[in-house]
Protein backbone atom coordinates (compact mmCIF):
# COMPACT_ATOMS: atom_id res chain seq x y z
CA UNK A 1 0.00 0.00 0.00
CA UNK A 2 1.53 3.33 -1.01
CA UNK A 3 0.91 6.79 0.43
CA UNK A 4 -1.76 7.66 -2.13
CA UNK A 5 -3.65 4.43 -1.48
CA UNK A 6 -3.50 5.06 2.25
CA UNK A 7 -4.82 8.61 1.82
CA UNK A 8 -7.71 7.31 -0.27
CA UNK A 9 -8.60 4.77 2.39
CA UNK A 10 -8.32 7.30 5.21
CA UNK A 11 -10.45 9.79 3.25
CA UNK A 12 -13.06 7.09 2.65
CA UNK A 13 -13.19 6.11 6.31
CA UNK A 14 -13.55 9.78 7.18
CA UNK A 15 -16.43 10.18 4.74
CA UNK A 16 -18.24 7.23 6.35
CA UNK A 17 -17.76 8.63 9.85
CA UNK A 18 -19.03 12.08 8.83
CA UNK A 19 -22.00 10.37 7.18
CA UNK A 20 -22.71 8.45 10.41
CA UNK A 21 -22.38 11.65 12.43
CA UNK A 22 -24.94 13.38 10.19
CA UNK A 23 -27.24 10.36 10.22
CA UNK A 24 -27.20 10.19 14.01
CA UNK A 25 -27.75 13.94 14.17
CA UNK A 26 -30.80 13.68 11.93
CA UNK A 27 -32.12 10.77 13.99
CA UNK A 28 -31.90 12.52 17.36
CA UNK A 29 -34.83 14.97 16.98
CA UNK A 30 -36.94 12.38 15.14
CA UNK A 31 -36.45 9.64 17.75
CA UNK A 32 -39.13 9.66 20.42
CA UNK A 33 -37.71 7.20 22.95
CA UNK A 34 -35.61 9.25 25.35
CA UNK A 35 -32.96 6.62 26.08
CA UNK A 36 -32.44 5.86 22.38
CA UNK A 37 -32.28 9.58 21.57
CA UNK A 38 -29.62 10.00 24.24
CA UNK A 39 -27.65 7.01 22.92
CA UNK A 40 -27.59 8.51 19.43
CA UNK A 41 -26.60 11.87 20.92
CA UNK A 42 -23.65 10.32 22.78
CA UNK A 43 -22.43 8.54 19.68
CA UNK A 44 -22.50 11.67 17.50
CA UNK A 45 -19.42 12.80 19.40
CA UNK A 46 -17.66 9.45 19.20
CA UNK A 47 -17.86 9.21 15.40
CA UNK A 48 -17.10 12.93 15.04
CA UNK A 49 -13.82 12.46 16.90
CA UNK A 50 -12.84 9.57 14.65
CA UNK A 51 -13.67 11.69 11.59
CA UNK A 52 -11.57 14.51 12.99
CA UNK A 53 -8.54 12.31 13.64
CA UNK A 54 -8.80 10.73 10.19
CA UNK A 55 -9.08 14.19 8.64
CA UNK A 56 -5.85 15.24 10.30
CA UNK A 57 -4.13 12.00 9.36
CA UNK A 58 -5.13 12.56 5.71
CA UNK A 59 -3.06 15.70 5.64
CA UNK A 60 -0.02 13.74 6.76
CA UNK A 61 -0.56 11.54 3.72
CA UNK A 62 -0.30 14.48 1.26
CA UNK A 63 -4.09 14.91 1.02
CA UNK A 64 -5.88 18.12 2.04
CA UNK A 65 -6.80 18.61 5.70
CA UNK A 66 -10.08 16.79 6.37
CA UNK A 67 -9.99 15.16 2.99
CA UNK A 68 -13.08 13.02 2.35
CA UNK A 69 -13.67 10.56 -0.41
CA UNK A 70 -16.86 8.81 -1.46
CA UNK A 71 -16.92 5.05 -0.89
CA UNK A 72 -17.83 2.66 -3.71
CA UNK A 73 -21.27 3.10 -5.26
CA UNK A 74 -22.61 -0.04 -3.56
CA UNK A 75 -21.42 1.18 -0.16
CA UNK A 76 -22.99 4.60 -0.74
CA UNK A 77 -26.31 2.87 -1.47
CA UNK A 78 -25.99 0.86 1.73
CA UNK A 79 -25.32 4.01 3.75
CA UNK A 80 -28.28 5.77 2.14
CA UNK A 81 -30.51 2.84 3.07
CA UNK A 82 -29.33 3.18 6.67
CA UNK A 83 -30.05 6.91 6.78
CA UNK A 84 -33.54 6.31 5.36
CA UNK A 85 -34.66 4.21 8.35
CA UNK A 86 -37.41 6.01 10.25
CA UNK A 87 -38.29 3.78 13.20
CA UNK A 88 -36.19 3.44 16.32
CA UNK A 89 -35.86 -0.35 16.47
CA UNK A 90 -34.65 -0.69 12.86
CA UNK A 91 -32.30 2.26 13.39
CA UNK A 92 -30.72 0.55 16.38
CA UNK A 93 -30.46 -2.77 14.58
CA UNK A 94 -29.27 -1.21 11.33
CA UNK A 95 -26.56 0.94 12.85
CA UNK A 96 -25.18 -1.22 15.63
CA UNK A 97 -25.62 -4.68 14.14
CA UNK A 98 -25.10 -4.02 10.45
CA UNK A 99 -23.39 -0.73 9.54
CA UNK A 100 -20.86 -0.49 12.36
CA UNK A 101 -19.72 -4.12 12.06
CA UNK A 102 -19.23 -3.49 8.34
CA UNK A 103 -17.15 -0.40 9.07
CA UNK A 104 -15.17 -2.29 11.68
CA UNK A 105 -14.45 -4.94 9.08
CA UNK A 106 -13.13 -2.26 6.75
CA UNK A 107 -10.79 -0.95 9.45
CA UNK A 108 -9.58 -4.46 10.27
CA UNK A 109 -8.84 -5.22 6.62
CA UNK A 110 -6.86 -2.02 6.29
CA UNK A 111 -4.85 -2.67 9.45
CA UNK A 112 -4.10 -6.22 8.26
CA UNK A 113 -2.91 -4.97 4.91
CA UNK A 114 -0.88 -1.87 5.72
CA UNK A 115 2.68 -1.67 7.03
CA UNK A 116 1.97 -1.38 10.76
CA UNK A 117 5.25 0.34 11.46
CA UNK A 118 5.49 2.93 8.73
CA UNK A 119 1.71 3.61 8.82
CA UNK A 120 1.44 3.41 12.59
CA UNK A 121 -0.35 6.80 12.94
CA UNK A 122 -3.26 5.44 10.86
CA UNK A 123 -3.21 2.10 12.66
CA UNK A 124 -3.47 3.81 16.04
CA UNK A 125 -6.49 5.85 14.92
CA UNK A 126 -8.23 2.80 13.47
CA UNK A 127 -7.55 0.56 16.45
CA UNK A 128 -8.99 3.27 18.71
CA UNK A 129 -11.96 3.54 16.34
CA UNK A 130 -12.56 -0.21 16.55
CA UNK A 131 -12.60 0.02 20.33
CA UNK A 132 -15.14 2.85 20.06
CA UNK A 133 -17.32 0.69 17.83
CA UNK A 134 -17.16 -2.09 20.43
CA UNK A 135 -18.18 0.45 23.07
CA UNK A 136 -21.08 1.79 21.00
CA UNK A 137 -22.32 -1.73 20.34
CA UNK A 138 -22.10 -2.63 24.03
CA UNK A 139 -24.12 0.45 24.96
CA UNK A 140 -26.77 -0.38 22.36
CA UNK A 141 -27.00 -3.97 23.61
CA UNK A 142 -27.50 -2.74 27.18
CA UNK A 143 -30.22 -0.39 25.94
CA UNK A 144 -32.28 -3.04 24.16
CA UNK A 145 -31.83 -5.42 27.09
CA UNK A 146 -33.33 -2.75 29.35
CA UNK A 147 -36.05 -1.85 26.83
CA UNK A 148 -36.92 -5.01 24.86
CA UNK A 149 -39.60 -3.11 22.94
CA UNK A 150 -36.76 -1.45 21.05
CA UNK A 151 -36.14 -4.77 19.29
CA UNK A 152 -39.67 -5.17 17.95
CA UNK A 153 -39.87 -5.36 14.17
CA UNK A 154 -36.21 -4.55 13.76
CA UNK A 155 -35.08 -7.66 11.91
CA UNK A 156 -37.78 -7.61 9.25
CA UNK A 157 -37.31 -3.88 8.62
CA UNK A 158 -33.55 -4.19 8.16
CA UNK A 159 -33.45 -7.18 5.80
CA UNK A 160 -32.89 -4.96 2.77
CA UNK A 161 -30.21 -3.02 4.64
CA UNK A 162 -28.31 -6.19 5.54
CA UNK A 163 -28.46 -7.30 1.93
CA UNK A 164 -27.05 -3.97 0.74
CA UNK A 165 -24.16 -4.04 3.20
CA UNK A 166 -23.46 -7.68 2.34
CA UNK A 167 -23.24 -6.71 -1.33
CA UNK A 168 -20.98 -3.72 -0.60
CA UNK A 169 -17.87 -5.79 -0.10
CA UNK A 170 -15.47 -3.10 -1.30
CA UNK A 171 -15.86 0.05 0.75
CA UNK A 172 -13.00 1.89 -0.92
CA UNK A 173 -13.55 2.88 -4.52
CA UNK A 174 -10.26 2.13 -6.24
CA UNK A 175 -11.32 3.76 -9.52
CA UNK A 176 -12.47 7.13 -8.26
CA UNK A 177 -10.04 10.03 -8.48
CA UNK A 178 -9.43 11.54 -5.07
CA UNK A 179 -9.63 15.26 -4.24
CA UNK A 180 -12.73 16.44 -2.51
CA UNK A 181 -11.76 18.10 0.74
Amino acid sequence: MNVKTRAEAVGTFRHVNVFLMETLAAWVPSTAEMEAKVLFGRHIWLVAQVADRLGRRARELRAPLHFSRLPSASYVKALDALAALTQTAPRLEGLYRTALPSLRGGYASYVAETDRLIDEPTVVVLEDAMREIDRMQSESIRLVEEFPALREGASSATGELRRRFAEATDMIDVRREPQSA
Binding site: M21, E22, L24, A25, A26, W27, V28, P29, S30, T31, A32, E33, M34, K37, V38, L39, F40, G41, R42, I44, W45, L46, A48, Q49, D52, G55, H66
Partner: protein, 268 residues
Protein backbone atom coordinates in the same frame (compact mmCIF):
# COMPACT_ATOMS: atom_id res chain seq x y z
CA UNK B 1 -33.09 24.22 5.34
CA UNK B 2 -35.58 26.90 4.32
CA UNK B 3 -38.54 27.70 6.57
CA UNK B 4 -40.89 26.66 3.78
CA UNK B 5 -39.48 23.11 4.00
CA UNK B 6 -39.99 22.81 7.75
CA UNK B 7 -42.92 21.32 9.66
CA UNK B 8 -44.37 24.23 11.60
CA UNK B 9 -47.06 25.08 14.13
CA UNK B 10 -48.71 28.36 15.10
CA UNK B 11 -48.81 29.30 18.79
CA UNK B 12 -50.01 32.67 20.12
CA UNK B 13 -50.10 33.88 16.51
CA UNK B 14 -46.43 33.05 15.87
CA UNK B 15 -45.20 30.43 13.40
CA UNK B 16 -42.72 28.09 15.10
CA UNK B 17 -40.93 24.85 14.28
CA UNK B 18 -43.02 21.82 15.08
CA UNK B 19 -41.90 19.93 18.19
CA UNK B 20 -39.22 17.24 18.04
CA UNK B 21 -40.29 13.66 18.77
CA UNK B 22 -41.18 12.83 22.36
CA UNK B 23 -42.31 9.59 23.96
CA UNK B 24 -46.03 9.17 24.48
CA UNK B 25 -45.52 9.34 28.26
CA UNK B 26 -44.76 13.06 27.90
CA UNK B 27 -47.59 15.56 27.64
CA UNK B 28 -46.16 18.27 25.38
CA UNK B 29 -47.62 21.76 25.84
CA UNK B 30 -46.87 25.16 24.34
CA UNK B 31 -47.16 27.83 27.02
CA UNK B 32 -46.30 28.48 30.66
CA UNK B 33 -50.02 28.58 31.42
CA UNK B 34 -50.23 24.91 30.44
CA UNK B 35 -47.25 23.95 32.59
CA UNK B 36 -47.10 22.87 36.22
CA UNK B 37 -44.73 24.76 38.54
CA UNK B 38 -44.54 25.73 42.17
CA UNK B 39 -42.36 28.48 43.66
CA UNK B 40 -41.37 26.48 46.76
CA UNK B 41 -39.00 23.55 47.21
CA UNK B 42 -41.62 21.00 48.24
CA UNK B 43 -41.00 17.40 47.10
CA UNK B 44 -43.34 17.73 44.11
CA UNK B 45 -41.79 21.08 43.15
CA UNK B 46 -38.31 19.53 43.27
CA UNK B 47 -39.41 16.70 41.01
CA UNK B 48 -41.02 19.16 38.60
CA UNK B 49 -37.87 21.31 38.53
CA UNK B 50 -35.68 18.33 37.68
CA UNK B 51 -38.22 17.01 35.18
CA UNK B 52 -38.39 20.40 33.43
CA UNK B 53 -34.60 20.71 33.42
CA UNK B 54 -34.27 17.20 31.99
CA UNK B 55 -36.58 18.06 29.10
CA UNK B 56 -34.72 21.32 28.51
CA UNK B 57 -31.52 19.31 28.15
CA UNK B 58 -33.26 16.94 25.72
CA UNK B 59 -34.29 20.01 23.75
CA UNK B 60 -30.72 21.33 23.75
CA UNK B 61 -29.57 17.94 22.43
CA UNK B 62 -32.25 18.05 19.73
CA UNK B 63 -31.15 21.55 18.68
CA UNK B 64 -27.41 20.80 18.53
CA UNK B 65 -28.10 17.65 16.53
CA UNK B 66 -30.48 19.41 14.15
CA UNK B 67 -27.86 22.10 13.50
CA UNK B 68 -25.37 19.37 12.55
CA UNK B 69 -27.92 17.83 10.22
CA UNK B 70 -29.15 21.09 8.68
CA UNK B 71 -25.78 22.76 8.02
CA UNK B 72 -23.40 20.23 6.46
CA UNK B 73 -21.29 23.03 4.95
CA UNK B 74 -20.54 24.73 8.28
CA UNK B 75 -16.83 24.88 9.23
CA UNK B 76 -15.63 21.51 10.48
CA UNK B 77 -14.34 22.88 13.78
CA UNK B 78 -17.74 24.41 14.52
CA UNK B 79 -19.42 21.10 13.70
CA UNK B 80 -17.07 19.42 16.16
CA UNK B 81 -18.24 21.83 18.86
CA UNK B 82 -21.87 21.00 18.09
CA UNK B 83 -21.06 17.28 18.18
CA UNK B 84 -19.40 17.73 21.55
CA UNK B 85 -22.40 19.70 22.77
CA UNK B 86 -24.68 16.83 21.73
CA UNK B 87 -22.60 14.50 23.90
CA UNK B 88 -22.68 16.91 26.85
CA UNK B 89 -26.44 17.38 26.66
CA UNK B 90 -26.93 13.61 26.40
CA UNK B 91 -24.96 13.11 29.61
CA UNK B 92 -26.98 15.86 31.29
CA UNK B 93 -30.26 14.18 30.35
CA UNK B 94 -29.12 10.85 31.73
CA UNK B 95 -27.77 12.37 34.94
CA UNK B 96 -30.93 14.39 35.56
CA UNK B 97 -33.12 11.38 34.84
CA UNK B 98 -31.07 9.32 37.28
CA UNK B 99 -31.47 11.98 39.98
CA UNK B 100 -35.17 12.42 39.19
CA UNK B 101 -35.75 8.72 39.80
CA UNK B 102 -33.68 8.84 43.00
CA UNK B 103 -36.03 11.45 44.46
CA UNK B 104 -39.13 9.52 43.43
CA UNK B 105 -39.97 11.08 40.08
CA UNK B 106 -40.40 9.56 36.63
CA UNK B 107 -40.39 10.74 33.05
CA UNK B 108 -43.77 11.99 31.96
CA UNK B 109 -44.78 12.95 35.51
CA UNK B 110 -45.30 16.59 34.47
CA UNK B 111 -46.07 18.43 31.23
CA UNK B 112 -43.11 19.59 29.14
CA UNK B 113 -42.62 22.38 26.61
CA UNK B 114 -40.02 22.53 23.86
CA UNK B 115 -40.06 26.33 23.54
CA UNK B 116 -36.35 26.74 22.75
CA UNK B 117 -36.47 24.21 19.92
CA UNK B 118 -39.62 25.69 18.38
CA UNK B 119 -38.12 29.19 18.35
CA UNK B 120 -34.50 28.36 17.49
CA UNK B 121 -35.01 25.74 14.82
CA UNK B 122 -37.45 27.83 12.78
CA UNK B 123 -34.44 30.00 11.87
CA UNK B 124 -32.74 29.08 8.62
CA UNK B 125 -29.21 30.20 9.50
CA UNK B 126 -26.70 28.57 11.82
CA UNK B 127 -25.47 31.92 13.10
CA UNK B 128 -29.07 32.82 13.99
CA UNK B 129 -29.55 29.56 15.86
CA UNK B 130 -26.28 30.00 17.78
CA UNK B 131 -27.41 33.52 18.66
CA UNK B 132 -30.65 32.28 20.19
CA UNK B 133 -29.89 28.85 21.60
CA UNK B 134 -26.33 29.18 22.84
CA UNK B 135 -25.78 32.89 23.29
CA UNK B 136 -29.24 33.79 24.60
CA UNK B 137 -31.05 30.77 26.08
CA UNK B 138 -27.98 28.94 27.41
CA UNK B 139 -26.40 32.16 28.65
CA UNK B 140 -29.68 32.95 30.42
CA UNK B 141 -29.66 29.47 31.92
CA UNK B 142 -26.09 30.13 33.04
CA UNK B 143 -27.32 33.15 34.99
CA UNK B 144 -30.07 31.07 36.55
CA UNK B 145 -27.73 28.18 37.31
CA UNK B 146 -25.48 30.44 39.34
CA UNK B 147 -28.17 30.53 42.04
CA UNK B 148 -29.80 27.13 41.70
CA UNK B 149 -27.20 24.96 43.47
CA UNK B 150 -27.44 27.20 46.54
CA UNK B 151 -31.21 26.94 46.51
CA UNK B 152 -31.05 23.12 46.45
CA UNK B 153 -28.34 23.06 49.09
CA UNK B 154 -30.47 25.27 51.35
CA UNK B 155 -33.28 22.78 50.85
CA UNK B 156 -30.97 20.02 52.11
CA UNK B 157 -30.21 18.39 48.75
CA UNK B 158 -26.48 18.75 48.23
CA UNK B 159 -26.39 15.94 45.67
CA UNK B 160 -28.68 17.73 43.24
CA UNK B 161 -26.81 20.98 43.95
CA UNK B 162 -23.51 19.38 42.91
CA UNK B 163 -25.10 17.90 39.78
CA UNK B 164 -26.50 21.26 38.71
CA UNK B 165 -23.16 22.95 39.31
CA UNK B 166 -21.43 20.34 37.11
CA UNK B 167 -23.96 20.91 34.34
CA UNK B 168 -23.51 24.68 34.64
CA UNK B 169 -19.75 24.29 34.11
CA UNK B 170 -20.40 22.43 30.84
CA UNK B 171 -22.82 25.09 29.63
CA UNK B 172 -20.12 27.76 29.82
CA UNK B 173 -18.30 26.02 27.00
CA UNK B 174 -21.45 25.94 24.85
CA UNK B 175 -21.91 29.68 25.25
CA UNK B 176 -18.20 30.34 24.71
CA UNK B 177 -17.92 28.50 21.41
CA UNK B 178 -21.05 30.25 20.15
CA UNK B 179 -19.60 33.64 21.06
CA UNK B 180 -16.32 32.75 19.35
CA UNK B 181 -17.99 31.50 16.17
CA UNK B 182 -20.55 34.30 15.91
CA UNK B 183 -17.66 36.77 16.09
CA UNK B 184 -15.62 34.85 13.55
CA UNK B 185 -18.43 34.23 11.07
CA UNK B 186 -19.78 37.78 11.19
CA UNK B 187 -16.31 39.27 10.85
CA UNK B 188 -15.78 37.16 7.72
CA UNK B 189 -19.21 37.97 6.27
CA UNK B 190 -20.84 41.17 7.54
CA UNK B 191 -24.16 40.19 5.94
CA UNK B 192 -24.54 37.55 8.64
CA UNK B 193 -25.11 40.39 11.10
CA UNK B 194 -28.57 40.68 9.54
CA UNK B 195 -29.20 37.06 10.51
CA UNK B 196 -28.09 37.82 14.08
CA UNK B 197 -30.32 40.90 14.21
CA UNK B 198 -33.23 38.97 12.74
CA UNK B 199 -32.84 36.23 15.36
CA UNK B 200 -32.81 38.73 18.23
CA UNK B 201 -35.81 40.61 16.83
CA UNK B 202 -37.71 37.37 16.26
CA UNK B 203 -37.16 36.27 19.86
CA UNK B 204 -38.40 39.65 21.10
CA UNK B 205 -41.55 39.19 19.02
CA UNK B 206 -42.08 35.68 20.35
CA UNK B 207 -41.55 36.78 23.94
CA UNK B 208 -44.08 39.58 23.47
CA UNK B 209 -46.62 37.18 21.97
CA UNK B 210 -46.09 34.62 24.77
CA UNK B 211 -46.05 37.13 27.66
CA UNK B 212 -48.63 36.12 30.29
CA UNK B 213 -51.40 38.52 31.17
CA UNK B 214 -50.95 40.16 34.60
CA UNK B 215 -51.99 37.65 37.24
CA UNK B 216 -52.34 34.78 34.75
CA UNK B 217 -51.91 31.40 36.43
CA UNK B 218 -50.60 27.99 35.41
CA UNK B 219 -52.39 24.65 35.69
CA UNK B 220 -51.91 24.46 39.46
CA UNK B 221 -53.04 28.03 40.10
CA UNK B 222 -49.63 29.62 40.54
CA UNK B 223 -49.13 33.08 39.06
CA UNK B 224 -46.80 32.81 36.08
CA UNK B 225 -43.52 34.67 36.56
CA UNK B 226 -42.96 37.62 34.26
CA UNK B 227 -40.32 36.65 31.74
CA UNK B 228 -38.91 40.14 32.12
CA UNK B 229 -37.89 39.32 35.69
CA UNK B 230 -34.60 37.74 34.71
CA UNK B 231 -32.11 36.14 37.05
CA UNK B 232 -29.23 38.32 38.25
CA UNK B 233 -26.41 38.31 35.74
CA UNK B 234 -23.75 35.67 36.33
CA UNK B 235 -20.92 37.98 35.26
CA UNK B 236 -18.16 35.55 36.26
CA UNK B 237 -19.41 32.71 34.07
CA UNK B 238 -20.31 35.12 31.27
CA UNK B 239 -16.71 36.29 31.31
CA UNK B 240 -15.53 32.66 31.11
CA UNK B 241 -17.91 32.22 28.19
CA UNK B 242 -16.10 35.10 26.48
CA UNK B 243 -18.76 37.75 26.62
CA UNK B 244 -16.76 40.97 26.35
CA UNK B 245 -16.76 43.49 29.21
CA UNK B 246 -18.94 45.76 27.08
CA UNK B 247 -21.44 42.98 26.45
CA UNK B 248 -21.64 42.10 30.15
CA UNK B 249 -22.11 45.78 30.99
CA UNK B 250 -24.91 46.05 28.45
CA UNK B 251 -26.67 42.98 29.85
CA UNK B 252 -26.36 44.42 33.38
CA UNK B 253 -27.84 47.72 32.22
CA UNK B 254 -30.74 46.00 30.46
CA UNK B 255 -31.40 43.84 33.51
CA UNK B 256 -31.72 46.93 35.70
CA UNK B 257 -28.38 46.68 37.50
CA UNK B 258 -26.56 49.78 36.19
CA UNK B 259 -24.87 50.23 39.57
CA UNK B 260 -22.97 46.99 39.00
CA UNK B 261 -21.49 48.24 35.73
CA UNK B 262 -17.82 49.11 36.26
CA UNK B 263 -17.29 52.87 36.31
CA UNK B 264 -15.33 53.02 33.04
CA UNK B 265 -18.02 51.03 31.25
CA UNK B 266 -20.80 53.17 32.69
CA UNK B 267 -19.11 56.34 31.42
CA UNK B 268 -18.61 54.91 27.95
Amino acid sequence: MKQSEMDTKVVCGVTLRKDPARESCFKVVDTDAQMVAWPDMSPQSRRERLHRHMNNEITSLDIAAQCLADFPDAPWDLRMQLARQAWDESRHVTALHRRLKEIGGFKGEFPVANFEWTVTCILDSLVGRLTLQNRTFEAGAMDLMARLPGKWREAGDGETADLLDSIAADEIQHVRFANQWIRKLTSEDKRLLFKVAHAVRFLAEVNAAFAPAPGETNVVGQVIANAGQVAPINAADRELAEFSDEEIAEVLRQAGFPALVPRQEAQA
